[in-house]
């Protein structure tokens, strides 16, 4: 008896979802799209987040947003329009370089809609070059690293004998 009730309930839920999904897909959530793009929310099928290869220069996604393995996607929506974007998202594996990543991990309808909405929301922003800022940060980090290593290893470079000799010659009570 209980099992029947549970079955009925799950059927009902699935049915509801089936009907409501296309309706929701029409209006994607740009915030969720951003999360999917950046990878803070993962794709249902396990595809890699877009940010791994693509940047959106006009939108602040933090220090890691400078990936340049693929082209910058700020102007994607402007260049391809809504249908174009939908087409790309439907089959990202159409691009040869994305094949290995998405052929077996397609995006769901909802994810496509969210991403599309996100691309639409950033289309207006101005494309900026993240490279200069990133280079600055890398140089700074390298310098801090080198200074740290230098500070730790300073004693190693000084030696033992030379300071002894110098102290005796030029310090107190030396023989000159």
């Amino acid at each position: 008896m209980t099992r029947l009730a549970v079955n009925c309930f799950s059927l009902l839920t699935v049915g509801l979802l089936l009907f409501s999904a296309p309706a929701l897909a029409q209006q994607g959530d740009p915030l969720r799209g951003e999360a999917l793009f950046a990878g803070t929310v993962s794709f249902a099928q396990g595809g890699a987040p877009c940010l791994a290869c693509h940047a959106i220069g006009g939108h602040d996604l933090g220090q890691a947003a400078g990936a340049s393995y693929g082209p910058d996607l700020t102007a994607l929506f402007t260049d391809y329009g809504e249908d174009g974007v939908a087409g790309i998202l439907e089959d990202p594996a159409a691009f040869e370089s994305m094949q290995a990543i998405f052929a077996e991990h397609p995006l769901s309808d909802q994810e496509r809609a969210d991403l599309s909405a996100f691309f639409a929301s950033v289309a207006e922003s101005e494309k900026t070059d993240i490279g200069v800022r990133l280079t600055g940060h890398v140089v700074l980090a390298t310098m801090i690293f080198l200074v740290l290593i230098g500070a730790l290893g300073w004693r190693r470079l000084q030696g033992v004998r030379k300071p002894l000799v110098e102290k005796a010659r030029y310090g107190k009570g030396g023989i000159a």
């Binding site: 190693r156 033992v160 004998r161 002894l164």
Partner: protein
């Protein structure tokens, strides 16, 4: 009880004349190659002095040896995480200048220079860069009667003495120094073995010789800093670390190690010691003052039936036991108790022992006539070296250990003076024996062993029993067929 055998040695410092023949013998045998020019597996340094490499005894700088942390022993270099943290950049290594920059002379210039008004000279050139250089240091640069206010004054042992004691060391006309020959101590609790990230260093089970496997060594150089005696060295051409091998190939052929064989002063004694390996850790955890006594405690009497039984049970072969009974080292260290380990406070349990130098008596004009047996210890000024200095070197700061040895050495000296010079009464000699707690026979035995023995008595190389060691790992017949071509290494192109 887990009884093991160790080939160990005694250096009698009163006999060392500082001729460096041992160093040269070793150099010609083992380190006459490219990239290892700076290495002296055997070196002789002058004490007081900073030694080779400079101030090697200063573990605040080099972080060698062990220290106690709670009820456990820890490498001063750091724990496992500390070692890995330093694996690419170890700040505790000596620099080339602390060893010395190896040099040679352009001898060719002497014969090939074109005719001219000036005498041709052989300029000093660096063996590293090949360029002319100014020689500023060497492996025994402090060999300057130890008056140097650079090297002698900065000896880590001298620095911790009182101003009065320092003055005593460097006083004009009473200035005093001695030579300290050093090789690898083949320690029971070796720091180098414990520190090696590649597991390339091992202590041979059958004779306790500490070796670096040249196939396994990856040149991390942790052993160089972990050895408090700085007796492992990095080979710059091979990219591997190397150290004294106690001439095991010579010993396996029944010969004395090169430095022992060549020793002009006959200061070196070699023989097997039996020890209880189960008690190594408890010895290493003792207070500094007790380290010498505790280490002497785990060295076992090879004549004791209990020890013989235990040794056989632990797998020490009969022939090694026989060699242990003939060992002069056992007599020096345990029976007579006149040999002490170098810097026991590093807690590696070194198995090379030194008879501390009594040094020649000063002439009466300088010192005034004194009855040695009575007066020697009435005040510290009577001893030529400050007791505290010797205690810092050989007894972890425990001057009583050194005094006990000194009493015995004085007893020997006075008895011989009574017998051969005759200006001392038998009473005086007997009094010295009583003070030293030695029988007249033991005094005579010490004199005989120190002065009259031939090489086979001084250096008792045990049968190395290679066939047994080989049998433990592989069929001896197969070993005979396959060995002799060196170890199998992949060619550069890979297999």
């Amino acid at each position: 009880m887990n009884i093991r055998a160790q080939v160990s040695s005694v250096f009698h410092l009163d006999k060392c004349i500082g001729c460096h023949t041992c160093s040269i013998a070793c150099k010609n045998l083992w380190t006459d190659r490219k990239g290892v020019e700076y290495m002296w597996w055997n070196n002789v340094e002058t004490k007081p002095g900073t030694g080779y490499p400079t101030k090697w005894e200063d573990q605040e700088r080099y972080n060698g040896g062990w220290e106690r942390s709670g009820s456990q022993l820890k490498l001063k270099l750091g724990g496992r995480a500390g070692l890995i943290g330093k694996i690419f950049h170890n700040p505790s290594l000596p620099t080339m200048d602390d060893y010395y920059e190896p040099f040679t002379y352009r001898y060719g210039d002497l014969t090939s220079a074109p005719a001219g008004d000036d005498q041709p000279t052989a300029r000093a050139v660096s063996m590293v860069s090949g360029k002319p250089m100014k020689i500023e240091a060497g492996p025994n640069w402090d060999d300057d009667l130890s008056g140097s206010n650079i090297y002698a004054a900065n000896d880590p042992g001298v620095v911790q003495l009182s101003a009065e004691e320092q003055q005593q060391l460097f006083a004009i006309e009473k200035m005093v120094f001695f030579h300290l020959p050093r090789i690898c101590n083949h320690c029971l609790n070796a720091g180098c073995v414990a520190s090696c990230p590649s597991g390339a260093i091992y202590k041979r089970g059958e004779d306790g010789i500490v070796l670096i496997n040249q196939d396994k060594c990856r040149g991390w150089r942790m052993c160089v800093s972990a050895c408090p005696y700085k007796k492992t060295y990095y080979g710059w051409a091979s990219g591997k670390s190397e150290k004294c091998i106690l001439c095991y190939p010579r010993q396996e052929a029944g010969e004395a190690p090169g430095c022992f064989h060549s020793c002009v002063g006959r200061i070196r004694f070699l023989g097997v010691l039996l020890y209880d390996a189960d008690r190594i850790e408890s010895v290493a955890l003792q207070d500094d003052q007790n380290l010498v006594a505790a280490q002497r405690e785990i060295i076992l009497d090879p004549f004791d039936p209990q020890v013989i039984l235990g040794a056989k049970r632990s797998g020490v072969p009969e022939q090694i036991l026989k060699a242990a009974q003939k060992s002069p080292v056992y007599k020096f260290v345990k029976e007579w108790g006149i040999a002490l380990p170098l810097h026991p406070e590093f807690r590696t349990l070194p198995m090379l022992f030194y008879v501390p130098p009594l040094l020649p008596v000063l002439s009466m004009d300088n010192q005034g006539k004194q009855k040695l047996a009575d007066d020697f210890f009435t005040s510290l000024e009577q001893a030529r070296l400050p007791m505290q200095y010797l205690a810092g070197l050989f007894a972890g700061g425990n001057a009583e250990e050194v005094k006990s040895v000194y009493r015995k050495l004085i007893a020997v000296r006075l008895q011989r003076r009574h017998l051969s010079v005759g200006d001392l009464s038998a009473d005086e000699a007997a009094k010295a024996c009583t003070a030293a707690e030695l029988s007249s026979e033991a005094v005579n035995a010490i004199y005989r062993m120190t002065a009259l023995t031939r090489i086979k008595e001084r250096i008792v190389v045990p049968p190395m029993l290679r066939e047994q060691a080989i049998e433990a790992g592989m069929d001896p017949e197969q070993h005979k067929q396959e060995m002799g071509f060196g170890s199998r290494r992949p060619p550069k192109r890979r297999w």
